[in-house]
Symmetry: C2
Subunit: 337 residues, 2 copies
């Protein structure tokens, strides 16, 4: 399997990303294509005692799309950007999956322009794989690819999220829920209430509405469906709640000696917390609905996070997600598609 990794557009230096890529490639016997500035990549390879060989090749790219660039403009004008070059490698059959910690909007725009959409999926959905306190992951789709949604888009997200859960996460009969502001049927904005009718008639186990506060502790569904605007806010607000808690705890600990000693004793518990909630462990977010396997990693991804995202891409290719989505959605589509 050939994975192309964009090592240029993340928040961390390319060296960290190369390191994570090399680690994942060796572990799983993958072929790795590193998209970016050849000099920078060669230096990074040296630093982790690797070099270009049969398993590791460089895909030269002279430009970078940065985090603050306007997505559509960036992918249209920077034709030699690492993310564009990498997506073209997927389109041209030179690689099986693309992984990037870059500008999410630009990856979505680039994937749509370069790879195109799957039949009968007008809008892509970005699926985040979230942890729960009980240990079992679940999916939230969409977390930011499509911010203005119709009820039909939510149905498509549900179908894609359920397919991904079956093919990649190994959940036989995934339950699907709608993110809303209340659990009662009929609660929600216009799009959500209309989507309820569609989801109730769809060929998967629809379990109704779920609210944001108990997703991580109760894990009420395998797949949680949302428009990309609310889903993005959900994801970031959960992160914000976790960050606020740890920030407050850290500063409270620093103020008293007895708390410092207590915290030192509690280190194993803090390590457990970090492992359970850290984005590094979660791999990346698969972008579903485009003609190719694309996994978007967190912008702050370090080597561990990149290795996790590559593993997610590997599992998506092995699970034949794109083929299943392409073949399966026509049969699954209900009135209103």
């Amino acid at each position: 399997m050939r994975i192309v990794l964009d090592v240029m557009g993340g928040d961390r230096p390319p060296g960290d990303l190369v390191h994570g890529g090399v680690h994942a490639a060796r572990r799983h016997g993958l072929q790795l294509l590193l998209a970016g500035a050849p000099d920078v990549i060669r230096e990074a390879l040296e630093a982790c005692a690797a070099s270009e060989d049969a398993a590791i090749t460089i895909l030269p790219a002279s430009q970078v799309v940065t985090m603050d660039e306007r997505p559509v403009r960036a992918v249209r004008t920077k034709r030699n950007a690492s993310l564009v070059v990498a997506l073209e490698a997927i389109r041209d059959g030179k690689a099986d999956a693309f992984v990037s910690p870059g500008n999410t909007g630009a990856i979505v725009a680039g994937a749509l322009f370069t790879l195109g959409r799957l039949p009968s999926i007008p809008r892509p959905g970005l699926a985040a794989i979230l942890p729960s306190t009980g240990g079992r992951e679940f999916t939230v789709i969409d977390v930011g690819a499509t911010v203005d949604c119709t009820p039909e888009h939510l149905l498509h997200f549900a179908l894609m999220g359920a397919t991904h859960a079956q093919a990649v996460l190994g959940i036989d009969d995934p339950s699907v829920a709608l993110l809303s502001n209340g659990t009662e049927r009929g609660k929600g904005n216009r799009t959500v209430t209309r989507a309820t009718d569609l989801l109730e008639r769809a060929p998967f186990r629809f379990v109704g509405n779920v609210e944001a506060h108990h997703l991580l502790t109760d894990r009420p569904a395998d797949v949680v469906v949302s428009d990309g605007f609310a889903g993005n806010i959900l994801l970031k607000a959960i992160e914000g709640g976790v960050m606020a808690t740890t920030t407050l705890l850290r500063s409270a600990i620093a103020r008293q000696l007895r708390c410092k000693i207590g915290a030192a004793l509690m280190r194993p518990a803090f390590d457990t917390l970090r492992r359970a909630l850290g984005y590094q462990q979660r791999g990346g977010a698969p972008l579903l609905g485009v003609r190719g396997t694309v996994v978007i990693a967190h912008g702050r991804s370090d080597a561990t996070a990149i290795a996790g995202a590559i593993d997610m891409a590997r599992r998506a290719v092995n699970g034949r997600v794109i083929e299943r989505l392409g073949a399966g959605l026509d049969g699954w589509c209900v009135d209103g598609c």
Copy 2:
């Protein structure tokens, strides 16, 4: 000042709410009207060594709107529900402010039917007062009163949130931001991007878009504006992130003796955390845009939380929020209102 408290519709027993009400009334020298079943209230008063007197009276109500009832139907059919009776007391000038930990949708619907809207405010906004890690609170409006919004509604929320921040929170020149999925201008769904134009021309300090993950740690604005759907998800997802962190930590602590000892030493730090993030400390959420002072407390409110919500109502009456909103919005309104 006369505060009417609905003691029936919360998650906790009426006794807890009566207790919080009596405590707040004594502390601030308020007159307290307790809306609910007289027998239940009398028993609760006895339990906290209080009784009906010049400062504490009972507003008899034979029905209760429960948490899972459909709001509009409930307030239309249960004409003798505690929340309806309480709102009528406000309308008829028998009380100055209404506090309830009941069904949010029913309180919003009841307030609209019974009190009516303020001039030039077509939709009410529920303002949550959130803590930040630095200690200073900020406002998010709307967190669930109006789930389908136009850009103009977001402008009204901004105007109301800024007025409340000035009048009640004591912030002279409040900064106002739009909740979005990115900080760059132009990021957001259709409603948010259109609202940007309106907010840029409005008579307050608009500071652009903010994202959900850094609200509590960076406190980027005094007032954060959102539609009620995304705002509700924001609020609950932050709560979910905090809950997941503390749940994981608690179970990790329970697994090892050294962590248990560490946690015991760290108690002051955990107390700080609870004080900083616990909803009990935050008072209630003012419902802005209706003709009367209405504060919605958390459904799980205990005596402390109810006392905080009553204090929020007291400060709103003292700050003349309703009068300022009624008088001020015409002058503030810009094109598109």
